[in-house]
Symmetry: C2
Subunit: 186 residues, 2 copies
């Protein structure tokens, strides 16, 4: 992969893989489907990737990184900014968001490496949320911060999950609602 043509082919393959996982799930992501979508023959695919797995892992890594953007800002986020970043991710990078959810559910079951990667990511993510809570509410105990962060991150993922089923689902509204206490006892 030292010529321009190879890089372009690689990009087309990854784009196709992204789209396919998001739209058809891991089940529907076959070599044939990827190659058709990318307008590439199997030989070219295997010239650039060792296996289907490798292409999938590459895309999954992208997705995981995209969920937590702006890493140099770590340690300075507000909770609201983290939720807004998540809303942007879900609504504006919907292919990667689809990959993220597909992997969270089905991808980690038969693939220990993917599972580990995802769980590590989740922990980092919860810690980042907990950090924001700490900065905004320093008097809350560390335990409570973590638990609250964990509840929030899981709940946000639930909202993303529902968008997979119903693309018209108001991700932004429901996400902000969570943050703004829409679930407080009335």
């Amino acid at each position: 992969m030292r010529y321009k043509a190879g890089l372009e082919t690689r990009d087309r393959i990854l784009e196709a893989t992204r789209r396919l996982i998001a739209e058809a799930g891991l089940e529907g992501t076959t070599i044939k489907a990827i190659c058709d979508q990318a307008e590439v023959l199997p030989g070219s695919f295997y010239n650039l990737f060792d296996s289907k797995e490798q292409a999938i892992v590459t895309v999954v890594r992208e997705a995981i990184e995209a969920v937590d953007p702006d890493p140099e800002h770590l340690g300075k986020d507000t909770l609201a900014a983290l939720v807004e970043a998540y809303i942007v991710f879900i609504t504006e990078q919907s292919d990667l968001a689809g990959v993220y959810i597909a992997i969270a559910v089905s991808g980690t079951r038969n693939n220990p490496e993917l599972r580990e990667r995802f769980l590590r990511h989740h922990e980092r993510r919860v810690a980042r949320f907990a950090g924001a809570i700490e900065r905004e509410h320093p008097r809350v105990e560390a335990d409570a911060r973590s638990r609250r962060a964990e509840t929030l991150v899981s709940a946000l993922n639930g909202i993303a999950l529902h968008r997979v089923l119903d693309p018209s689902f108001d991700v932004a509204g429901h996400s902000r609602a969570l943050l703004n206490g829409a679930l407080i006892p009335l």
Copy 2:
């Protein structure tokens, strides 16, 4: 399927299907895997089911029904009771819960019938939650009730989703936290 033997075989097949979808996802749920698990040969499987699809849909229907138990109690639930019922479902019927989440994400993408079924179920479920809110807080507007119910149901699904990844996840605690306002601005 008029002899006892046939009924027992059918049960074993459905149990195997349930376990497989929950543990290995739809991808891992092959005829061979089902037959091995159920100790049945393909000929027997196809004597009792028209297709693999049929066995899966049967199990999915079970799962969807199990999420909303006690239907004759509809119209009398409290929000807390609905959340507790959901906690019981996730923690005590974990195979069906696994089926539920697997289908919510991957099952509905290539199967319009399953998708419709799931979305109808989701609507009923949101309406049931909204009904409970109405009874407990009659002065909240209908719109707000629905939105709140929708946020809550999605958030609860997010918690269930995370349990698929991490079986030690405290589903009960986080679910109750949602209900009790753990996410209110501090």
